[in-house]
């Protein structure tokens, strides 16, 4: 069967223009407006979660644990050890919450993306815009938490400044993969699996104690998970323990971003621009 007689230079299958209108900021602006109108209180509460953990675990539990000796031989307080871990976790939680539950709701109930994609917006605009918002939110949390750390004297090195972009990268990775996974899920039951994966990752990724407590096979398993890379990266920066393995951590997240964005864009296009 002939589909068309006229020349069709840019079929939707290959045309970049159908994917991206260069207008992700309209999507970001929509989220900011929604935050202002609807859920600023929820957003604000996200700042306090890691602070509470830091106070309860760092000072409460920390008074029993005492100081830790790092592999470099340096001795640091327990609070200074877990604070960067909590910072990475808050980046993960903020990004994942935004890119899973929020995205799931907009996808299936708000029909937001369906409406957006009947305009000149493309699926990559939607993905980038939504993820930028998650990043912006994560970035604000990170700055706030780093300020708290600074005030408490838990930033032990000048390189702590670089923890802000590091946290943004962690959030970018999690948000991209989170949105990609969510775009394939159809029921609330499937969404529960997200929590099932997140909680153990939070507890076991060397957030609260060094990885060396585990037998070696478990260590490798943890090292394969994304959060460990984030915790190590941020901890190295705030404690001032810099080494080349940080490039591996960064690369891990860059891969997550690329894979996540690719799947999200492909899936949104398949769902709404068949």
């Amino acid at each position: 069967m002939t589909t068309t007689t006229a020349p069709a230079p840019v079929r939707r299958g290959g045309g970049v223009r159908a994917l991206y209108a260069g207008n992700a900021r309209a999507i970001l602006m929509r989220s900011l407006t929604a935050t202002k109108s609807s859920n600023w209180a929820v957003v604000l509460s996200g700042f306090f979660e890691p602070v509470f953990y830091l106070v309860a675990m760092g000072y409460g539990l920390g008074s029993f644990v005492g100081d830790l000796t790092l592999p470099t031989g340096e001795t640091v307080s327990y609070a200074a050890f877990i604070a960067p871990g909590l910072l990475a976790v808050s980046a993960m939680n903020g990004a994942v919450y935004d890119s899973t539950w929020n995205v799931f709701f907009k996808l299936h109930f708000g029909k937001l993306y369906q409406a957006q994609l009947t305009t000149s917006i493309g699926p990559l605009d939607v993905a980038l815009g939504e993820i930028s918002y998650a990043l912006l939110r994560g970035g604000v949390y990170a700055l706030g938490f780093l300020t708290v750390m600074q005030v408490m004297g838990l930033n032990l090195a000048w390189s702590a400044v670089a923890a802000v972009p590091a946290v943004l990268l962690v959030a970018f990775g999690f948000a991209s993969v989170g949105m990609a996974v969510t775009s394939y899920l159809k029921t609330f039951q499937q969404m529960d699996w997200v929590t099932f994966v997140m909680l153990p990752m939070f507890l076991f990724s060397a957030t609260f104690y060094p990885l060396s407590v585990y037998p070696e096979p478990i260590q490798w398993l943890i090292k394969a998970m994304p959060l460990w890379h984030g915790v190590e990266l941020v901890r190295g920066l705030t404690l001032g323990v810099l080494d080349p393995s940080m490039y591996v951590h960064v690369a891990y997240y860059v891969v997550m971003v690329v894979v996540g964005l690719t799947f999200t864009t492909t899936r949104l296009r398949a769902l709404f621009l068949d």
Binding site: A6, N23, A26, R30, L112, T118
Partner: protein, 307 residues
Amino acid sequence: MTPVIAARGLTKTFGDLTAVDGIDFEVPAGESFGLLGPNGAGKSTTMRMVGAVSSRTAGDLRVLGLDPDAHGPEIRSQLGVVPQEDNLDPELKVRENLIVYGRYFGIPKAVCAKRADELLAFAQLEDKARNKVDDLSGGMKRRLTIARALINEPRILMLDEPTTGLDPQARHVLWDRLFRLKERGTTLVLTTHYMDEAEQLCDRLVVVDHGRIMAEGSPSQLIRQYASREVAELRFGSDRNADAAARLEGLAERIEVLPDRVLLYTDDGEALLERVTDLGLHPTTSLVRRSSLEDVFLRLTGRSLIE
């Protein structure tokens, strides 16, 4: 003048299902064009292809002179779309819904804000500007969706079942608004399974069933062509309709027997009723009315439009 929409042999299949089966139609600028048919006839699928959010399986389609499969974003930027189910943004206030939607088209914020105020007035929602969408009634939500579809000053406004689910009063308010758009020269493309809606709003329409076009013309042309001027509706009681119809044979140009009534197509309904009485038949109720698109549809497909 080139038509704003031109479809030739337009086809869409989903696996084994042929939703749209080789349809041809053209819509000139400024016309109000309707797709009339029952649920599942392929109207919404056609709308999605014209709206450049669904690619065609076969055939040729030009919207504003462009191929939607190749120029989706350019076409979408010049369309206003009112989907069958409201998809307003529940996290935004009424006025924000308009402004944010305008921003999706890359329209500057100040322009969006100005148009939003004009459109709120047009949709009679000025008092609700700062309300949440969920506070609106069904009819108000629909009007807001139409206002939203106009924010980019579209060359074509596409409405999929615009008044389905609304109460009669809300429908009339909506028709009034759409009629004003029509008077301003906006090209309207709408689907409906309500005949009265099609008669009110459409300059020209196609009757669609099973993905095919059964007939095409203005509402009055179609009625003239496929029905008589008047219809007499007679009810003899569910068990006796068929028997009575047999005795009425030859009395009218055409007779349709439905489960609950018998329809007699004629040019003079009152005269026909007298002849029915002369035959010694006494229907429990009788009614003479003008033919409508419902009758056209019944004639074309042998089924009623709404079961």
